[in-house]
Protein backbone atom coordinates (compact mmCIF):
# COMPACT_ATOMS: atom_id res chain seq x y z
CA UNK A 1 0.00 0.00 0.00
CA UNK A 2 1.49 3.30 -1.04
CA UNK A 3 0.04 5.40 1.75
CA UNK A 4 1.29 8.99 2.03
CA UNK A 5 3.98 9.12 4.69
CA UNK A 6 3.70 12.85 5.31
CA UNK A 7 0.35 14.63 5.19
CA UNK A 8 0.28 18.32 6.04
CA UNK A 9 -3.03 20.15 6.05
CA UNK A 10 -3.39 23.89 6.58
CA UNK A 11 -0.29 24.17 8.72
CA UNK A 12 0.35 27.63 10.16
CA UNK A 13 2.86 28.79 12.71
CA UNK A 14 3.24 32.17 14.39
CA UNK A 15 6.18 33.61 16.33
CA UNK A 16 4.21 36.15 18.32
CA UNK A 17 2.58 38.35 15.70
CA UNK A 18 4.84 37.14 12.89
CA UNK A 19 3.29 34.52 10.65
CA UNK A 20 6.15 32.23 9.65
CA UNK A 21 4.13 29.47 7.97
CA UNK A 22 0.86 30.37 6.32
CA UNK A 23 -1.69 27.59 5.83
CA UNK A 24 0.46 25.21 3.82
CA UNK A 25 -0.72 21.79 2.68
CA UNK A 26 1.16 19.00 0.94
CA UNK A 27 1.63 15.25 0.90
CA UNK A 28 4.73 13.13 0.52
CA UNK A 29 4.40 9.55 -0.62
CA UNK A 30 6.39 6.65 0.78
CA UNK A 31 9.86 6.43 -0.80
CA UNK A 32 9.49 9.88 -2.29
CA UNK A 33 12.14 12.58 -1.99
CA UNK A 34 10.55 15.98 -1.57
CA UNK A 35 12.78 19.02 -1.91
CA UNK A 36 11.71 21.97 0.17
CA UNK A 37 13.13 25.10 -1.40
CA UNK A 38 12.95 28.71 -0.42
CA UNK A 39 15.06 31.69 0.56
CA UNK A 40 16.06 32.39 4.15
CA UNK A 41 13.03 33.30 6.24
CA UNK A 42 10.59 31.59 3.88
CA UNK A 43 9.40 29.25 6.65
CA UNK A 44 11.37 26.11 5.71
CA UNK A 45 13.03 25.64 9.09
CA UNK A 46 9.84 26.37 10.99
CA UNK A 47 7.98 23.76 8.93
CA UNK A 48 10.69 21.18 9.59
CA UNK A 49 10.72 22.03 13.29
CA UNK A 50 6.98 21.51 13.56
CA UNK A 51 7.12 18.27 11.59
CA UNK A 52 9.93 16.88 13.73
CA UNK A 53 8.34 17.91 17.01
CA UNK A 54 10.85 20.62 17.89
CA UNK A 55 8.03 23.16 17.82
CA UNK A 56 4.55 22.48 19.05
CA UNK A 57 1.84 22.34 16.41
CA UNK A 58 -0.21 25.54 16.61
CA UNK A 59 -2.64 25.33 13.74
CA UNK A 60 -3.48 22.74 11.11
CA UNK A 61 -2.98 19.00 11.04
CA UNK A 62 0.14 16.94 10.42
CA UNK A 63 0.11 13.19 10.01
CA UNK A 64 3.36 11.28 9.77
CA UNK A 65 3.35 7.53 9.14
CA UNK A 66 -0.38 7.62 9.75
CA UNK A 67 0.00 9.17 13.21
CA UNK A 68 -1.18 12.63 14.20
CA UNK A 69 1.86 14.45 15.58
CA UNK A 70 -0.33 16.45 17.94
CA UNK A 71 -0.87 13.25 19.93
CA UNK A 72 1.75 10.74 18.84
CA UNK A 73 4.92 12.75 18.30
CA UNK A 74 6.96 10.47 20.60
CA UNK A 75 6.04 7.39 18.56
CA UNK A 76 6.72 9.22 15.33
CA UNK A 77 10.11 10.48 16.53
CA UNK A 78 11.22 6.90 17.18
CA UNK A 79 10.80 6.27 13.45
CA UNK A 80 12.34 9.43 12.02
CA UNK A 81 15.89 10.61 11.45
CA UNK A 82 16.88 14.27 11.47
CA UNK A 83 20.01 15.84 10.04
CA UNK A 84 20.38 19.44 11.20
CA UNK A 85 21.96 22.15 9.11
CA UNK A 86 24.41 23.25 11.79
CA UNK A 87 26.59 20.51 13.31
CA UNK A 88 25.35 19.69 16.80
CA UNK A 89 27.52 16.77 17.76
CA UNK A 90 29.19 15.88 21.05
CA UNK A 91 32.60 17.22 20.16
CA UNK A 92 34.42 15.62 23.06
CA UNK A 93 33.15 12.18 22.12
CA UNK A 94 34.38 10.09 19.24
CA UNK A 95 32.36 9.64 16.05
CA UNK A 96 31.59 6.08 17.06
CA UNK A 97 30.48 7.14 20.55
CA UNK A 98 28.20 9.77 19.03
CA UNK A 99 26.51 7.19 16.85
CA UNK A 100 26.31 4.56 19.58
CA UNK A 101 24.70 7.08 21.94
CA UNK A 102 21.90 7.73 19.46
CA UNK A 103 21.57 4.04 18.62
CA UNK A 104 20.95 3.39 22.33
CA UNK A 105 18.45 6.25 22.51
CA UNK A 106 16.60 4.66 19.60
CA UNK A 107 16.85 1.23 21.31
CA UNK A 108 18.60 -0.28 18.29
CA UNK A 109 19.35 -3.90 19.16
CA UNK A 110 21.66 -4.43 16.21
CA UNK A 111 23.86 -1.52 15.29
CA UNK A 112 27.13 -1.42 13.41
CA UNK A 113 28.67 2.02 13.84
CA UNK A 114 31.74 1.11 11.82
CA UNK A 115 29.65 0.14 8.78
CA UNK A 116 27.63 3.34 8.99
CA UNK A 117 30.74 5.49 9.27
CA UNK A 118 32.19 3.67 6.28
CA UNK A 119 29.06 4.52 4.30
CA UNK A 120 29.71 8.23 4.83
CA UNK A 121 33.43 7.93 4.15
CA UNK A 122 34.68 8.21 7.72
CA UNK A 123 36.31 4.80 7.96
CA UNK A 124 39.60 4.88 9.84
CA UNK A 125 38.52 7.96 11.83
CA UNK A 126 35.89 6.22 13.94
CA UNK A 127 37.70 6.71 17.23
CA UNK A 128 38.79 10.30 16.65
CA UNK A 129 37.12 12.92 18.76
CA UNK A 130 34.68 14.98 16.73
CA UNK A 131 36.42 18.17 17.88
CA UNK A 132 39.30 17.13 15.63
CA UNK A 133 37.08 16.66 12.57
CA UNK A 134 36.91 19.11 9.68
CA UNK A 135 33.63 20.83 8.83
CA UNK A 136 32.97 18.39 6.02
CA UNK A 137 33.65 15.37 8.22
CA UNK A 138 31.27 16.70 10.83
CA UNK A 139 28.62 17.14 8.16
CA UNK A 140 29.08 13.54 7.04
CA UNK A 141 28.82 12.39 10.64
CA UNK A 142 25.59 14.40 10.99
CA UNK A 143 24.16 12.51 8.04
CA UNK A 144 25.32 9.21 9.53
CA UNK A 145 23.67 10.06 12.84
CA UNK A 146 20.33 10.62 11.11
CA UNK A 147 20.58 7.09 9.73
CA UNK A 148 21.28 5.17 12.96
CA UNK A 149 17.69 4.09 13.49
CA UNK A 150 16.96 3.10 9.88
CA UNK A 151 14.28 5.76 9.88
CA UNK A 152 11.16 5.61 7.80
CA UNK A 153 11.20 9.38 7.35
CA UNK A 154 14.41 11.35 6.95
CA UNK A 155 14.46 15.10 7.46
CA UNK A 156 17.67 16.34 5.93
CA UNK A 157 18.51 20.02 6.24
CA UNK A 158 21.26 21.01 3.79
CA UNK A 159 22.96 17.60 4.10
CA UNK A 160 25.69 18.37 1.57
CA UNK A 161 26.46 21.86 2.84
CA UNK A 162 30.20 22.43 3.21
CA UNK A 163 31.16 19.21 1.46
CA UNK A 164 33.58 18.88 -1.41
CA UNK A 165 31.97 17.69 -4.69
CA UNK A 166 33.06 14.07 -4.26
CA UNK A 167 31.79 13.83 -0.67
CA UNK A 168 28.58 15.63 -1.61
CA UNK A 169 28.01 13.14 -4.39
CA UNK A 170 28.53 10.19 -2.06
CA UNK A 171 25.98 11.66 0.36
CA UNK A 172 23.50 12.11 -2.51
CA UNK A 173 23.99 8.46 -3.46
CA UNK A 174 23.43 7.52 0.16
CA UNK A 175 20.15 9.45 0.16
CA UNK A 176 19.05 7.59 -2.95
CA UNK A 177 19.96 4.27 -1.31
CA UNK A 178 17.92 5.23 1.74
CA UNK A 179 14.99 5.90 -0.56
CA UNK A 180 15.51 2.45 -2.11
CA UNK A 181 15.53 0.96 1.40
CA UNK A 182 12.07 2.42 1.88
CA UNK A 183 12.67 5.78 3.49
CA UNK A 184 10.74 8.92 2.65
CA UNK A 185 13.05 11.92 2.42
CA UNK A 186 12.17 15.51 3.24
CA UNK A 187 15.11 17.48 1.89
CA UNK A 188 15.72 21.16 2.59
CA UNK A 189 18.32 22.67 0.34
CA UNK A 190 19.53 25.81 -1.34
CA UNK A 191 21.30 23.81 -4.01
CA UNK A 192 19.04 23.89 -7.08
CA UNK A 193 21.17 21.46 -8.99
CA UNK A 194 20.98 19.00 -6.10
CA UNK A 195 17.22 19.43 -5.80
CA UNK A 196 16.82 18.90 -9.52
CA UNK A 197 18.87 15.71 -9.60
CA UNK A 198 17.74 14.21 -6.31
CA UNK A 199 14.12 15.14 -5.71
CA UNK A 200 11.06 13.44 -7.10
CA UNK A 201 9.14 16.63 -6.38
CA UNK A 202 10.08 20.08 -5.17
CA UNK A 203 8.04 22.60 -3.22
CA UNK A 204 8.79 26.31 -3.54
CA UNK A 205 8.18 28.08 -0.27
CA UNK A 206 7.95 31.85 -0.22
CA UNK A 207 6.81 34.08 2.62
CA UNK A 208 5.38 31.14 4.49
CA UNK A 209 3.30 29.85 1.57
CA UNK A 210 3.86 27.12 -0.99
CA UNK A 211 4.11 28.92 -4.32
CA UNK A 212 4.44 25.74 -6.39
CA UNK A 213 4.89 22.03 -5.83
CA UNK A 214 5.53 19.45 -8.52
CA UNK A 215 8.24 17.39 -10.19
CA UNK A 216 11.20 19.42 -11.46
CA UNK A 217 10.38 18.27 -14.98
CA UNK A 218 6.75 19.44 -14.83
CA UNK A 219 7.73 22.76 -13.27
CA UNK A 220 10.20 23.31 -16.09
CA UNK A 221 7.56 22.36 -18.62
CA UNK A 222 5.02 24.61 -17.01
CA UNK A 223 7.10 27.66 -16.20
CA UNK A 224 10.37 27.30 -18.08
CA UNK A 225 11.40 27.94 -21.66
CA UNK A 226 13.69 25.60 -23.57
CA UNK A 227 15.98 27.30 -26.05
CA UNK A 228 18.91 26.82 -28.36
CA UNK A 229 21.94 29.00 -27.91
CA UNK A 230 23.71 29.26 -31.24
CA UNK A 231 27.15 30.80 -31.66
CA UNK A 232 27.79 32.19 -35.15
CA UNK A 233 30.77 33.75 -36.83
CA UNK A 234 29.96 37.11 -38.39
CA UNK A 235 32.72 39.20 -40.04
CA UNK A 236 35.29 37.35 -38.01
CA UNK A 237 33.41 38.13 -34.76
CA UNK A 238 31.54 35.56 -32.63
CA UNK A 239 27.89 36.36 -31.92
CA UNK A 240 25.31 34.54 -29.83
CA UNK A 241 21.72 33.98 -30.96
CA UNK A 242 18.97 32.38 -28.89
CA UNK A 243 16.13 30.45 -30.49
CA UNK A 244 13.17 29.63 -28.27
CA UNK A 245 12.05 26.03 -28.68
CA UNK A 246 8.52 24.58 -28.57
CA UNK A 247 7.05 27.38 -30.74
CA UNK A 248 5.48 27.17 -34.18
CA UNK A 249 8.12 29.37 -35.75
CA UNK A 250 11.04 27.45 -34.19
CA UNK A 251 11.82 25.14 -37.17
CA UNK A 252 11.99 28.07 -39.59
CA UNK A 253 14.20 30.05 -37.29
CA UNK A 254 16.63 27.15 -36.92
CA UNK A 255 16.65 26.49 -40.67
CA UNK A 256 17.30 30.19 -41.34
CA UNK A 257 20.28 30.25 -39.03
CA UNK A 258 21.92 27.16 -40.50
CA UNK A 259 21.36 28.20 -44.13
CA UNK A 260 22.47 31.84 -43.88
CA UNK A 261 24.94 31.99 -41.01
CA UNK A 262 28.21 30.31 -40.21
CA UNK A 263 27.25 28.30 -37.13
CA UNK A 264 30.15 27.59 -34.75
CA UNK A 265 28.44 25.94 -31.74
CA UNK A 266 24.89 24.93 -30.77
CA UNK A 267 23.74 24.28 -27.20
CA UNK A 268 20.30 23.38 -25.97
CA UNK A 269 19.36 25.26 -22.82
CA UNK A 270 16.77 24.31 -20.24
CA UNK A 271 15.25 26.54 -17.58
CA UNK A 272 16.77 25.95 -14.12
CA UNK A 273 14.81 25.64 -10.93
CA UNK A 274 16.38 28.93 -9.94
CA UNK A 275 14.79 30.57 -13.03
CA UNK A 276 11.47 28.97 -12.26
CA UNK A 277 11.58 30.02 -8.64
CA UNK A 278 12.20 33.58 -9.79
CA UNK A 279 9.34 33.35 -12.24
CA UNK A 280 6.91 31.85 -9.71
CA UNK A 281 7.75 33.98 -6.69
CA UNK A 282 9.36 37.06 -8.16
CA UNK A 283 12.32 36.49 -5.83
CA UNK A 284 15.72 34.93 -6.19
CA UNK A 285 16.22 31.73 -4.22
CA UNK A 286 19.80 32.41 -3.29
CA UNK A 287 20.00 35.88 -1.80
Amino acid sequence: MNQDTIVVENLSYHYGKILAVDHISFRVARQEILGFLGPNGAGKSTTVKVLTGQLRLQEGRVTLLGMDIAHDIERVQARMGVCFEQPNLYEQMTALENLELFARLFSMKIFDGYALLKKVGLEGREKDRVANYSKGMKQRLMVARSLVNQAEILFLDEPTSGLDPVSADSIRNLILKERERGATVFLTTHDMWEADKLCDRVAFLNQGKIAAIDTPHTLKQQYGQRSLVVEISHDGQLEERTVTLDKAETPDAVRELFSHEKVVTVHSQEATLEDIFLKVTGQRLTL
Binding site: Q54, Q77, N88, L89, Q92, M93, L101, R104, L105, R129
Partner: protein
Amino acid sequence: MNARLIMTLIKKDLTLFTRNQFYFIITIVGLVMYILMYFVMPKTMDETLKLGIYAPGMPAVENSLVSDHGIEAKTFGTIEELREAVMRNEYPAAIALPEDLLSKLATGQKPVVTIYFSSSAPEEMKGAIKALVNQLAYLVTEQQTPLEMRSEVLGPDLLGMQIPWRDRLIPMLAIMILGLEIMSLASLISTEVEQNTVKALLVTPLKLRHLFTAKAILGIGLSFIQVLLFIIVVGGLSHEPLTMMLVLLLGSILVTGLGFLIASLAHDMMGVTSWGMIATITFFIPAIGGMIPGILSGWAKVLPSYHLTDAISRLSNYGATINDIGSHLLIILGWSIAFAVIGITALRRRYT
Protein backbone atom coordinates in the same frame (compact mmCIF):
# COMPACT_ATOMS: atom_id res chain seq x y z
CA MET B 1 10.06 7.06 33.12
CA ASN B 2 12.43 5.10 30.91
CA ALA B 3 15.38 4.03 33.08
CA ARG B 4 17.41 2.81 30.11
CA LEU B 5 17.24 6.19 28.37
CA ILE B 6 18.22 7.97 31.58
CA MET B 7 21.16 5.63 32.14
CA THR B 8 22.29 6.22 28.54
CA LEU B 9 22.29 9.96 29.15
CA ILE B 10 24.08 9.67 32.48
CA LYS B 11 26.78 7.55 30.85
CA LYS B 12 27.11 10.14 28.09
CA ASP B 13 27.35 13.02 30.59
CA LEU B 14 29.93 11.15 32.67
CA THR B 15 32.01 10.69 29.53
CA LEU B 16 31.73 14.40 28.72
CA PHE B 17 32.47 15.34 32.34
CA THR B 18 35.66 13.30 32.43
CA ARG B 19 36.72 14.78 29.09
CA ASN B 20 36.12 18.36 30.18
CA GLN B 21 39.62 18.98 31.49
CA PHE B 22 38.72 22.08 33.46
CA TYR B 23 35.92 20.60 35.54
CA PHE B 24 37.47 17.17 35.78
CA ILE B 25 40.77 18.55 37.03
CA ILE B 26 39.27 20.99 39.50
CA THR B 27 37.06 18.20 40.81
CA ILE B 28 39.79 15.62 41.28
CA VAL B 29 42.56 18.02 42.25
CA GLY B 30 40.12 19.91 44.45
CA LEU B 31 39.10 16.80 46.31
CA VAL B 32 42.71 15.75 46.88
CA MET B 33 43.62 19.29 47.94
CA TYR B 34 40.80 19.48 50.46
CA ILE B 35 41.79 16.18 52.01
CA LEU B 36 45.42 17.31 52.13
CA MET B 37 44.42 20.64 53.66
CA TYR B 38 42.62 18.80 56.40
CA PHE B 39 45.62 16.66 57.23
CA VAL B 40 48.21 19.44 57.10
CA MET B 41 46.27 21.53 59.61
CA PRO B 42 47.49 21.11 63.22
CA LYS B 43 45.87 18.36 65.15
CA THR B 44 46.62 20.16 68.44
CA MET B 45 46.38 23.78 69.44
CA ASP B 46 49.25 26.25 69.66
CA GLU B 47 50.16 26.93 73.30
CA THR B 48 51.22 30.52 72.69
CA LEU B 49 48.66 32.91 74.11
CA LYS B 50 47.70 35.76 71.82
CA LEU B 51 46.39 38.60 73.92
CA GLY B 52 44.88 41.95 73.04
CA ILE B 53 45.36 44.84 75.43
CA TYR B 54 43.61 48.15 75.87
CA ALA B 55 45.59 50.10 78.48
CA PRO B 56 45.27 53.85 77.90
CA GLY B 57 48.22 55.77 79.28
CA MET B 58 49.98 52.64 80.56
CA PRO B 59 52.85 51.76 78.15
CA ALA B 60 54.58 49.64 80.74
CA VAL B 61 51.85 47.06 80.42
CA GLU B 62 52.58 46.14 76.79
CA ASN B 63 56.34 46.15 77.34
CA SER B 64 56.08 43.76 80.22
CA LEU B 65 53.82 41.39 78.31
CA VAL B 66 55.95 41.34 75.19
CA SER B 67 58.90 40.15 77.21
CA ASP B 68 56.77 37.48 78.83
CA HIS B 69 57.42 34.02 77.34
CA GLY B 70 54.40 32.34 75.85
CA ILE B 71 52.42 35.54 75.37
CA GLU B 72 52.03 37.43 72.13
CA ALA B 73 50.46 40.73 73.06
CA LYS B 74 49.25 43.70 71.07
CA THR B 75 47.93 47.00 72.32
CA PHE B 76 44.84 48.54 70.71
CA GLY B 77 43.99 52.23 70.58
CA THR B 78 40.28 51.85 71.29
CA ILE B 79 37.99 49.33 72.93
CA GLU B 80 36.09 48.93 69.66
CA GLU B 81 39.25 47.84 67.84
CA LEU B 82 40.01 45.44 70.66
CA ARG B 83 36.52 43.91 70.51
CA GLU B 84 36.64 43.58 66.74
CA ALA B 85 39.98 41.75 66.90
CA VAL B 86 38.49 39.26 69.35
CA MET B 87 35.35 38.96 67.22
CA ARG B 88 37.52 38.17 64.21
CA ASN B 89 39.17 35.50 66.35
CA GLU B 90 42.55 37.12 65.87
CA TYR B 91 42.85 37.12 69.64
CA PRO B 92 41.19 34.48 71.79
CA ALA B 93 41.27 36.89 74.75
CA ALA B 94 41.74 40.56 75.41
CA ILE B 95 41.99 42.78 78.48
CA ALA B 96 40.54 46.27 78.65
CA LEU B 97 41.92 48.28 81.53
CA PRO B 98 39.77 51.30 82.46
CA GLU B 99 41.12 54.80 81.86
CA ASP B 100 40.50 55.66 85.51
CA LEU B 101 42.41 52.63 86.80
CA LEU B 102 45.09 54.59 88.60
CA SER B 103 42.78 57.28 89.98
CA LYS B 104 40.36 54.69 91.34
CA LEU B 105 43.16 52.74 92.92
CA ALA B 106 44.50 55.94 94.44
CA THR B 107 41.12 56.68 96.02
CA GLY B 108 40.74 53.11 97.23
CA GLN B 109 37.92 52.21 94.83
CA LYS B 110 37.73 48.94 92.88
CA PRO B 111 38.37 49.55 89.18
CA VAL B 112 36.45 47.37 86.72
CA VAL B 113 38.59 45.41 84.28
CA THR B 114 36.82 43.86 81.32
CA ILE B 115 38.12 40.63 79.81
CA TYR B 116 36.91 39.64 76.37
CA PHE B 117 37.00 36.03 75.23
CA SER B 118 36.33 34.78 71.75
CA SER B 119 33.76 32.05 71.55
CA SER B 120 36.45 29.52 70.75
CA ALA B 121 38.66 30.32 73.72
CA PRO B 122 39.32 27.30 75.97
CA GLU B 123 37.87 27.17 79.49
CA GLU B 124 41.28 26.98 81.16
CA MET B 125 42.19 30.31 79.62
CA LYS B 126 39.78 32.10 81.96
CA GLY B 127 41.80 31.44 85.12
CA ALA B 128 45.08 32.20 83.41
CA ILE B 129 43.87 35.55 82.13
CA LYS B 130 42.54 36.54 85.56
CA ALA B 131 45.90 35.77 87.11
CA LEU B 132 47.53 37.78 84.38
CA VAL B 133 45.29 40.77 85.06
CA ASN B 134 46.26 40.72 88.71
CA GLN B 135 49.89 40.59 87.64
CA LEU B 136 49.38 43.58 85.36
CA ALA B 137 47.73 45.57 88.13
CA TYR B 138 50.65 44.79 90.38
CA LEU B 139 53.02 45.89 87.65
CA VAL B 140 51.26 49.22 87.32
CA THR B 141 50.71 49.97 91.01
CA GLU B 142 53.57 47.94 92.49
CA GLN B 143 51.22 46.62 95.14
CA GLN B 144 48.43 44.07 95.59
CA THR B 145 45.31 45.81 94.28
CA PRO B 146 41.63 44.93 94.56
CA LEU B 147 40.06 44.62 91.10
CA GLU B 148 36.59 43.83 89.85
CA MET B 149 36.79 41.58 86.79
CA ARG B 150 34.01 41.31 84.26
CA SER B 151 34.23 38.86 81.40
CA GLU B 152 32.36 38.93 78.09
CA VAL B 153 32.26 36.28 75.39
CA LEU B 154 32.12 37.62 71.86
CA GLY B 155 30.27 35.23 69.56
CA PRO B 156 28.64 31.96 70.63
CA ASP B 157 29.95 30.67 73.93
CA LEU B 158 32.03 27.60 73.14
CA LEU B 159 34.30 27.78 76.16
CA GLY B 160 35.59 24.38 77.04
CA MET B 161 34.73 22.97 73.62
CA GLN B 162 37.94 23.79 71.84
CA ILE B 163 38.12 22.17 68.43
CA PRO B 164 41.31 21.65 66.43
CA TRP B 165 41.57 23.83 63.35
CA ARG B 166 41.49 20.96 60.93
CA ASP B 167 38.20 19.73 62.33
CA ARG B 168 36.79 23.22 62.04
CA LEU B 169 37.70 23.08 58.38
CA ILE B 170 35.49 20.06 57.72
CA PRO B 171 32.24 21.98 57.02
CA MET B 172 34.03 24.55 54.90
CA LEU B 173 35.86 21.98 52.79
CA ALA B 174 32.69 19.93 52.39
CA ILE B 175 30.82 23.02 51.24
CA MET B 176 33.62 23.86 48.79
CA ILE B 177 33.46 20.38 47.28
CA LEU B 178 29.71 20.72 46.87
CA GLY B 179 29.97 24.30 45.62
CA LEU B 180 32.23 23.42 42.73
CA GLU B 181 29.63 20.99 41.45
CA ILE B 182 27.22 23.89 40.92
CA MET B 183 29.37 25.08 38.03
CA SER B 184 30.13 21.60 36.70
CA LEU B 185 26.46 20.72 36.40
CA ALA B 186 25.47 24.14 35.07
CA SER B 187 28.21 23.76 32.46
CA LEU B 188 26.99 20.32 31.37
CA ILE B 189 23.48 21.67 30.89
CA SER B 190 24.49 24.96 29.32
CA THR B 191 26.87 23.31 26.84
CA GLU B 192 24.02 21.08 25.72
CA VAL B 193 22.00 24.20 24.86
CA GLU B 194 24.91 26.21 23.47
CA GLN B 195 26.04 23.44 21.10
CA ASN B 196 22.45 22.62 20.15
CA THR B 197 22.98 18.96 21.01
CA VAL B 198 19.77 19.15 23.00
CA LYS B 199 17.89 19.59 19.71
CA ALA B 200 19.35 16.35 18.42
CA LEU B 201 18.40 14.56 21.63
CA LEU B 202 14.84 15.84 21.61
CA VAL B 203 14.01 14.50 18.16
CA THR B 204 14.66 10.98 19.46
CA PRO B 205 12.38 9.08 21.84
CA LEU B 206 14.11 11.01 24.65
CA LYS B 207 12.00 13.71 26.29
CA LEU B 208 12.80 16.68 28.47
CA ARG B 209 11.75 14.82 31.59
CA HIS B 210 14.35 12.14 30.84
CA LEU B 211 16.99 14.78 30.19
CA PHE B 212 16.34 16.65 33.44
CA THR B 213 16.14 13.44 35.45
CA ALA B 214 19.47 12.25 34.04
CA LYS B 215 21.14 15.60 34.75
CA ALA B 216 19.71 15.68 38.28
CA ILE B 217 20.86 12.12 39.04
CA LEU B 218 24.32 12.87 37.69
CA GLY B 219 24.58 16.16 39.60
CA ILE B 220 23.40 14.67 42.88
CA GLY B 221 25.48 11.53 42.39
CA LEU B 222 28.72 13.33 41.54
CA SER B 223 28.49 15.78 44.41
CA PHE B 224 27.30 13.22 46.93
CA ILE B 225 30.04 10.70 46.12
CA GLN B 226 32.75 13.35 46.33
CA VAL B 227 31.63 14.94 49.56
CA LEU B 228 30.92 11.56 51.15
CA LEU B 229 34.39 10.36 50.21
CA PHE B 230 35.86 13.44 51.83
CA ILE B 231 33.81 13.04 55.00
CA ILE B 232 34.78 9.36 55.27
CA VAL B 233 38.48 10.14 54.86
CA VAL B 234 38.42 12.86 57.54
CA GLY B 235 36.46 10.65 59.92
CA GLY B 236 33.27 12.68 59.78
CA LEU B 237 31.06 9.61 59.79
CA SER B 238 32.09 8.44 63.24
CA HIS B 239 29.11 10.16 64.86
CA GLU B 240 25.52 9.85 63.57
CA PRO B 241 26.64 8.47 60.17
CA LEU B 242 23.15 8.19 58.71
CA THR B 243 22.23 11.73 59.69
CA MET B 244 25.48 13.00 58.21
CA MET B 245 24.79 11.11 54.99
CA LEU B 246 21.30 12.59 54.89
CA VAL B 247 22.73 16.09 55.30
CA LEU B 248 25.27 15.47 52.53
CA LEU B 249 22.58 14.09 50.26
CA LEU B 250 20.41 17.15 50.84
CA GLY B 251 23.47 19.32 50.21
CA SER B 252 24.00 17.51 46.92
CA ILE B 253 20.37 18.08 45.98
CA LEU B 254 20.78 21.75 46.91
CA VAL B 255 23.80 22.29 44.63
CA THR B 256 22.10 20.37 41.84
CA GLY B 257 19.09 22.68 42.12
CA LEU B 258 21.45 25.65 42.02
CA GLY B 259 23.17 24.12 38.98
CA PHE B 260 19.84 24.04 37.15
CA LEU B 261 19.17 27.63 38.16
CA ILE B 262 22.58 28.83 36.91
CA ALA B 263 22.13 26.89 33.65
CA SER B 264 18.78 28.59 33.12
CA LEU B 265 20.33 32.03 33.62
CA ALA B 266 23.45 31.44 31.53
CA HIS B 267 23.43 31.31 27.75
CA ASP B 268 27.03 30.17 27.29
CA MET B 269 30.16 29.20 29.19
CA MET B 270 30.89 32.81 30.07
CA GLY B 271 27.43 33.07 31.57
CA VAL B 272 27.96 29.88 33.53
CA THR B 273 31.28 31.17 34.85
CA SER B 274 29.86 34.57 35.76
CA TRP B 275 26.66 33.38 37.43
CA GLY B 276 28.45 30.35 38.81
CA MET B 277 31.13 32.46 40.51
CA ILE B 278 28.50 34.66 42.12
CA ALA B 279 26.54 31.64 43.33
CA THR B 280 29.62 29.76 44.50
CA ILE B 281 31.10 32.67 46.42
CA THR B 282 27.76 33.39 48.05
CA PHE B 283 27.49 29.69 48.81
CA PHE B 284 30.89 29.74 50.52
CA ILE B 285 30.23 32.73 52.80
CA PRO B 286 28.53 30.78 55.60
CA ALA B 287 31.15 28.05 55.29
CA ILE B 288 33.99 30.50 55.88
CA GLY B 289 32.05 32.19 58.64
CA GLY B 290 31.32 28.84 60.22
CA MET B 291 35.02 28.30 60.84
CA ILE B 292 35.15 31.38 62.96
CA PRO B 293 32.14 31.48 65.24
CA GLY B 294 30.74 34.92 65.82
CA ILE B 295 31.82 36.64 62.62
CA LEU B 296 28.70 35.96 60.58
CA SER B 297 26.10 38.68 60.45
CA GLY B 298 22.46 37.77 60.81
CA TRP B 299 21.79 38.10 57.09
CA ALA B 300 24.07 35.15 56.32
CA LYS B 301 21.51 32.89 57.97
CA VAL B 302 19.23 33.60 55.05
CA LEU B 303 21.65 31.78 52.74
CA PRO B 304 20.78 28.13 52.22
CA SER B 305 24.38 27.07 52.64
CA TYR B 306 24.34 28.48 56.19
CA HIS B 307 22.01 25.69 57.21
CA LEU B 308 24.13 23.13 55.42
CA THR B 309 27.34 24.39 57.01
CA ASP B 310 25.84 24.56 60.46
CA ALA B 311 24.35 21.07 60.15
CA ILE B 312 27.70 19.56 59.06
CA SER B 313 29.57 21.53 61.70
CA ARG B 314 27.25 20.51 64.52
CA LEU B 315 27.28 16.88 63.47
CA SER B 316 31.01 16.57 62.93
CA ASN B 317 32.27 18.79 65.75
CA TYR B 318 29.61 19.20 68.41
CA GLY B 319 27.96 15.80 68.69
CA ALA B 320 24.56 17.00 67.46
CA THR B 321 21.78 14.58 66.59
CA ILE B 322 19.11 14.66 63.90
CA ASN B 323 16.74 16.37 66.35
CA ASP B 324 19.17 19.26 66.79
CA ILE B 325 19.47 19.91 63.07
CA GLY B 326 15.97 18.94 61.93
CA SER B 327 15.01 22.52 61.06
CA HIS B 328 18.17 22.88 58.97
CA LEU B 329 17.28 19.77 56.99
CA LEU B 330 13.83 21.09 56.20
CA ILE B 331 15.16 24.47 55.14
CA ILE B 332 17.83 22.88 52.89
CA LEU B 333 15.18 20.67 51.32
CA GLY B 334 12.93 23.67 50.75
CA TRP B 335 15.70 25.67 49.07
CA SER B 336 16.70 22.67 46.94
CA ILE B 337 13.18 22.20 45.65
CA ALA B 338 12.79 25.93 45.01
CA PHE B 339 16.02 26.18 43.02
CA ALA B 340 15.32 23.04 41.02
CA VAL B 341 11.73 24.06 40.19
CA ILE B 342 12.71 27.58 39.11
CA GLY B 343 15.69 26.31 37.10
CA ILE B 344 13.85 23.47 35.40
CA THR B 345 10.86 25.68 34.60
CA ALA B 346 13.14 28.27 33.01
CA LEU B 347 15.09 25.62 31.09
CA ARG B 348 11.88 23.98 29.90
CA ARG B 349 10.72 27.32 28.51
CA ARG B 350 13.99 27.66 26.67
CA TYR B 351 13.99 24.12 25.25
CA THR B 352 10.38 24.15 24.00
